[in-house]
Structure formats: C-alpha cells, structure tokens
C-alpha cells in the first residue's frame, strides 16, 4: 500500500509566479479596455487579495491568468478582442499551460460539471491525462482537504448546498495540483456559514500545497488574515497605472481606508451609515395588510403519479406571520429553511401547500382574499417582489421602458418614474440595455421597476447578496424612507447588519429536520 497521501503531497506542487508588464485587455465588441497598463509581480506561494471598484478588470485578470480569456466571454460572444503588453505565468503564456492554474467562479451551479461527486473531482485530472491509477488517490485526497470526504463518490452533486458545491469545485481544482489558485468572488452567493466553510477549506489546502493564491472578493474581513498582500486595481485609462495600491493587508487598509470605503469595498470593522427611521415604530402597530396562518410552503407543484395527484413535501411548515403597513419584516434562517419559498408564497407567486395567505381589505381593495388568485396587474399594485437575480425580471430592452412597463400595464401615469430614476441614480442610464448594467445598477433598477407600480407591500429576496458597500447603504436608506412613507417591507436575508438597519420584526425559520 502507498503511504498516506498527506505525506506525499507537498512536494508535488510547484507554486507559480505571475508577471504582468504593461498588460491590457479589451473585450470583443467593447470600446474601452477592461484592463490597461497593468504592472504586477506575484512571487511563488504568495497570497493576494485583489480589490477595486466594479469595472476595474479584476475578473478579466483572473480569467486571463487561468488561460480562458478570449474564447468565450460572459455574453457568449466570441470575436475580435485586443491584448497588449505581456501577462506571464512562470514566464510563459497562461493559455499554453493547461492545469497550471485553477479557477473558481461565483455561481456554484456552474462550478459543477458532472453529476456524481467523485467523477466531478476527477474531471480535471482526466483532462490533464493523469494516469488512471493516480487519479483516484488524488480525488480522495482533494475531497479530504476540502472536508467532503464523508460523502460517497457516487453522491449526486445536485444534492449539495451552495457552500458544498464551491468546496467540491475547489476539490476539482486541487486534484489538478495547480501552482496557482484563482478565486473569483467564490463566496458572493453563499450564506455566512457557507462563506466560512469555503474560506477555511481554501486556507487548509493552501497551507498544505503552498500554491500561489489570487482571490477577488468584496468582503475584506473574510480574507484579510489569509492573504499576505492586498492589491487595489482601478479602471483602466491612459494616464494612471492599473495598480492603485499594493502592500501588506494592514498597511493598505490603514493607508487607504477612506478611499476603499468610498469605492464601496467592505473594509473590516466598518458598517456604512444608513438613514434612520423617522420615528420609532413599535411592533404590532400599522394597518394589517397580509397574514400567513399555519402556512406550509414548497416550490414544487403537486406531482402526478399516473392519474393521482400527490402534494409536495413542504420545505417549511407552520409559519405564522403578519405584514403591517410601515413595518419591516425580515425573514432569516439557514440555507434550506425555505425562506425564499415562504416569501414567494406570501407574495402571491406560489400556491401554499397547506394553511393560507390572506390579504386584508386594506390591501385587497376588492380583489379577493387570496393573493395567489389575483391577476398579474392586480398583484403588482398591491405586492411588489424583487427577485434575487435582477435579470429574471427584465422584460424590455432599455431602462426607461423597464420602469414604464408597470405603470403602462396599469394604465397609470408615469408620475413616479422620474422620481425613482432620480432617487436610485439611474437617470444617466435611461437608454441602456438592462442586461449590460453593472451588478449594483441592476439591483437598483430591479427595485425601481417594482416600485414604479406603487405596491403597498414590497418583498425582497436577498437584496444585498454580492452588493458592494455603497449599493448596500443606498438600498437600506431607501427602504427606510419607504417604510416611513407607509410601505410594508418584507425581506429575506442572511445579512445581520441589514436586518438591524431596517428594524421591525424578525421571523427566524429553523432548518427543517431530516434535510441535508
């Protein structure tokens, strides 16, 4: 038998060096370069946190280092792109060195390739033509390193949580034994427990292999103690270099604290100031608008088994909650507790499995008691829902039409549209295509479009996920204004600071027993 794999591992990985000299990149079909005049040296084994405002080209740099830039970009368009200067890994072009770098992206669903855990981890090693007898020891070792060794190799990848999927992706990368590990906002879509899971798995595996790390992330506090160095990038232009700041974490954070804060970076120990509620509103006051009684919820519709109808297994049951005018209700709890499912059911978008959602006459205004039975036009002027992924809600080709869509449908005037454009800083974007906006702009637009129909109840699903500190603060302040104006705000969130900023009632949902 071979010796335990842990003893054999460290010397098999040779950490990679990165050198950039005047490097620049322009995506096909864009006029402005994503990165310009980048000079950067990363020595083997160094761990670097990459910061900067959106549009500074952080993702572009990571894709380039992974050797996957230029073939397919995020819009699926291939075409003429432009490269200048040089970007080298170990003195050679990253594109010619398959497996030298491993890249993890943000969306956990697309980090999994195959449907069984063992096969997925083996995939990279297979592509690098590692001999079969060497692959399975690597798979076991990688799964142990990321803390997933308790799963059988044929465990279905679809049954994993977001944090587990990202750890699986890390295992797939580790099994290639890369000298350079690249993480592109690996925890932006995860709940707080998932964030720590992934961070700790990264720390453990790097301690073991000594590989070089470059990580892009908004939340500095998560990665600060793990990295040796912080590099701050700025959007490309002809005059300034791409690297704005470069140094040890504490020094960069001390020197540039206010600059980073104004760029929207989540600096440790800083919670952005938000507008306070005008008056303290005691819980239980305000008109009752919407009530959930003994509610059981599920995203699944009743299944057909032959001719029989089988009701779905609820993800959460026995929920009782009240939504009142001018009151915030925050729904919290671990992943898989059915928070979003509950919110969508409350918002009249899913049918309850059991129990009831009832609108009071103050909200229904003649439309009937059950929001799920309302017509779409009736729904949007009573309950507005902002989805986690803004793109799911875009229905037109430019920002102005997007905002006018609701009012037009209702036959209203567009009196609120100008105010919303102004208030959510979208005025300069009225002609832009919604899909081309930045993450923060998309979030602001999706909130504005739903509010344009003037709903009495606003439901938001994870509104702060992946947002920078500036958008976060804007959103929280704006919602506090809405609350003062008498709108009821229901938000599903993992974000304790956001919950605190809105105040009101917190509904904690527990993880359903017996679920993975």
């Amino acid at each position: 038998m071979a010796a335990p794999s842990h003893a054999a591992a460290p010397h098999t990985v040779r950490p990679a060096a990165v050198t950039a000299r005047g490097w620049g990149w322009r995506h096909a079909g864009r006029t402005r370069p994503a990165v310009q005049a980048l000079d950067l040296d990363i020595s083997p084994g160094e761990r670097v946190l990459l910061l900067g405002p959106s549009g500074a080209g952080k993702s572009t740099l990571l894709h380039a280092l992974a050797g996957v830039l230029g073939d397919v970009d995020d819009d699926g368009e291939a075409g003429e792109s432009d490269e200048s200067g040089s970007l080298l890994v170990d003195g050679g072009s990253p594109r010619g060195q398959r497996g030298r770098a491993g890249l993890m992206q943000q969306d956990p669903e697309t980090q999994v390739v195959l449907s069984r855990v063992g096969d997925d981890v083996a995939f990279g090693a297979e592509n690098l033509a590692v001999p079969r007898e060497a692959i399975w020891p690597r798979v076991h070792e990688a799964l142990a390193d990321v803390g997933l060794s308790h799963l059988p190799l044929d465990h279905p990848t679809s049954a994993l949580s977001g944090g587990q999927k990202q750890r699986l992706a890390l295992a797939g990368i580790l099994a290639m034994r890369p000298g350079l590990v690249l993480l592109d906002e690996p925890t932006a879509n995860l709940d707080p427990a998932g964030v720590l899971e992934v961070r700790d798995a990264v720390a453990r595996s790097l301690d073991k292999t000594g590989a070089t790390l470059v990580v892009v992330e908004h939340r500095v506090s998560v990665w600060k103690d793990l990295v040796d160095r912080i590099v701050v990038l700025q959007p490309g232009n002809h005059i300034d270099p791409a690297v704005l700041l470069d140094g040890p974490p504490d020094q960069v954070l001390a020197d540039a604290r206010s600059m980073l804060i104004s760029a929207g970076v989540w600096v440790p120990g800083y919670v952005p100031a938000t507008r306070a509620r005008a008056a303290d509103v005691p819980p239980g006051t305000g008109d009752l608008l919407l009530a959930a009684e003994a509610l059981a919820v599920s995203r699944q519709r009743p299944r057909r088994r032959g001719f029989r109808k089988i009701p779905p297994v609820p993800v959460q049951e026995g929920i009782t909650a009240q939504v009142r005018a001018g009151q915030a209700l925050t729904v919290t709890g671990p992943n898989g507790a059915g928070k979003s499912t509950f919110a969508l059911t409350l918002a009249g978008l899913l049918e309850p499995v059991d129990g009831a959602v009832s609108a009071t006459t103050a909200l229904a205004r003649g439309a009937g008691i059950d929001p799920c039975r309302w017509k779409a036009e009736q729904l949007i002027e009573r309950i507005g829902t902002v989805f986690q992924e803004p793109e799911h809600q875009f229905v037109t080709g430019n920002v102005l039409d997007e905002l006018l869509f609701g009012p037009r449908h209702l036959g209203h005037g567009a009196e609120r549209v100008d105010e919303l454009l102004e208030r959510l800083r979208l005025t300069h974007l009225v002609d832009a295509n919604p899909y081309t906006l930045s993450g923060g702009e998309k979030r602001r637009l999706s909130v504005a479009t739903v509010l344009a129909a003037s709903p009495q109840v606003l439901v938001l699903d994870e509104p702060t996920f992946g947002q920078d500190a500036n958008t976060w603060a804007e959103l929280a302040s704006f919602l506090s204004e809405l609350l003062d104006a008498g709108t009821a705000v229901v938000s599903v969130t993992h974000d304790a600071e956001f919950t605190a900023a809105l105040g009101g009632t917190e509904l904690k949902l527990a993880a359903e027993a017996g679920r993975p």
Partner: protein, 266 residues
C-alpha cells in the same frame, strides 16, 4: 425539485452491463418490431420484455410513474386504430359514424402491443443505465469524440437547472405584471417572453460552465479516463438476449403467418 436519472439504490443485474451492449440490444429489438405491423411479433417481444423487468430493477409502479404518457399514447393509438381501420369480419360495435369489427380490433390491438413493445426497451435501458456511464462507453468503446460526448453530458445536467429556472422566471415575470393567464394571444406572448428570458439565462450559464470546463483543462488534448468502460461476460448475454427476443418475435410471426413487412413487396 430536479428529477435526474439516478441509479442510487438500484442494484439489479443489468445495471452492471456495459451501456453500449444494452443500447445495441434495444436498437435490435426496436428495429425488428418497426418492420412489421402484427400482433404476434409484438406480443412475443412484449412478454420477454416484461420478463426482463426484475433484471433491470424496474417494477410496474415505477414503469407507470415514468412511462405513463407512453402507455397512454399506445392505448389511445390502439383504440382509435380499432375504430378507424377498414372493417372486416363480424361487427362488434356499431355507433353510427364509427364501427369496430373483428378485423379492425385486431389491427388496433396489434398497434397497441407494438407501441408498448417498442417503447419498453428504451424505458428499460434508462432505468438501469447511468448517463455518465453511457457517456464513458460512447467515448471509450464506441470511440465517439470525447469533446462532444462530455459536452453533451455536462449540458444535460444544465437541463435540470433550466427546468427550475423556467419556474423562477415565470414567477419573476408575474411579479412584473406579465400574466400567464388571460386570452390565448396573451398567454402565447407571455410564454415567448419567458422563453427569451430562459434563453438568456441558459446562454449565460452555458458560457460560465464552458469556462469552468476549460479551466479544468477540458479541450482537444489527450485525456485519460478515471472510470474504465469494460465489457464482461454479462454483455455477451445481453446481446444474445436482444438477438433472441428479436429472432423469436420474427420467427413466431412468420410461423403464424401474420408477418407483413411494411415497405417491401408493395
């Protein structure tokens, strides 16, 4: 939520056979049955297929759950054939514009049995074959290009996600005031809009997945396989079984005089 083909818990004998030999047996039976419309060859094949059920770990309850649309379609086809086919022999039912005679009933029953006998092998194959193993066999044994096979396999996993995404986009659009209820025109418009939304998301997901695969070294170069796709004695039995069922069905029909090749001798 996602209903993926998953073989966990199925320890039946045929799960251990190579997917390629199972595929060959299925194709053999299906082709032979497609050659003739007659009830003898269909019922012989059907009897053998039902006998193979336990070997594939399939039960009638599971079959009904997964294959009820096929069974229903075969039944409807059989029923309409028996009332619409040219009449011959004694009239059994006479309801004015349509009649069912002994001759047309025989054609109808033949149609029903054949429908089932052709559909069942595919259901059997799916119930005892993991898609990943099928892909391994297609690439390693049938020598199909691995880029194509593995790309398809990864895309199939996304299909499950797309079903979820479709539901989410539907809800997200209702929350914007786009009704999926109302007149036919409104509903068609809503569905088209929802399809566009899904297409955008599908392309995004697919390009992100492509980046993931490429970053894991997937491409044109030489590649090893962590899982061996191998033949065993069992595969000889599977092939022989397929041949036997197809042969017996034809022989029985020829012997009974019901064999009629569809496109030959016309």
């Amino acid at each position: 939520m996602r209903q993926e083909l998953n073989l966990r818990g199925n320890a039946a004998l045929l799960t251990r056979a190579n997917p390629l030999s199972k595929l060959a047996a299925v194709v053999l039976i299906t082709v032979v049955l497609a050659l003739s419309i007659d009830w003898v060859s269909a019922s012989v094949a059907l009897v053998f297929e039902l006998l193979v059920f336990p070997l594939a770990g399939l039960t009638f309850a599971l079959l009904w759950q997964r294959g009820w649309p096929l069974i229903l379609a075969a039944a409807v086809g059989g029923w309409s054939t028996s009332i619409l086919a040219p009449d011959s022999g004694r009239t059994l039912i006479d309801a004015g514009i349509w009649t069912m005679s002994e001759g047309s009933l025989e054609t109808g029953v033949g149609f029903l049995l054949r429908g089932l006998a052709i559909a069942l092998p595919a259901v059997l194959l799916m119930s005892c074959t993991d898609p990943t193993d099928l892909a391994d066999a297609l690439a390693q044994k049938a020598r199909l290009p691995h880029r194509f096979v593995l790309g398809t396999l990864a895309a199939m996993r996304l299909m499950g996600l797309m079903a979820e995404e479709w539901q989410t986009i539907g809800m997200a659009r209702r929350a914007r005031g786009v009704g999926s209820r109302g007149s036919l025109v409104q509903r068609v418009k809503a569905t088209l809009g929802q399809s566009f939304g899904l297409l955008v998301q599908a392309i995004r997901r697919a390009s992100r997945l492509a980046v993931t695969m490429e970053a894991r070294g997937f491409g044109g170069g030489p590649r090893t396989w962590a899982r061996v796709s191998a033949y065993s004695l069992l595969d000889a039995w599977v092939l022989a079984g397929g041949l036997a069922v197809a042969g017996l069905a034809v022989t029985a029909a020829v012997w009974a005089g019901t064999w009629n090749m569809l496109w030959i001798g016309g």
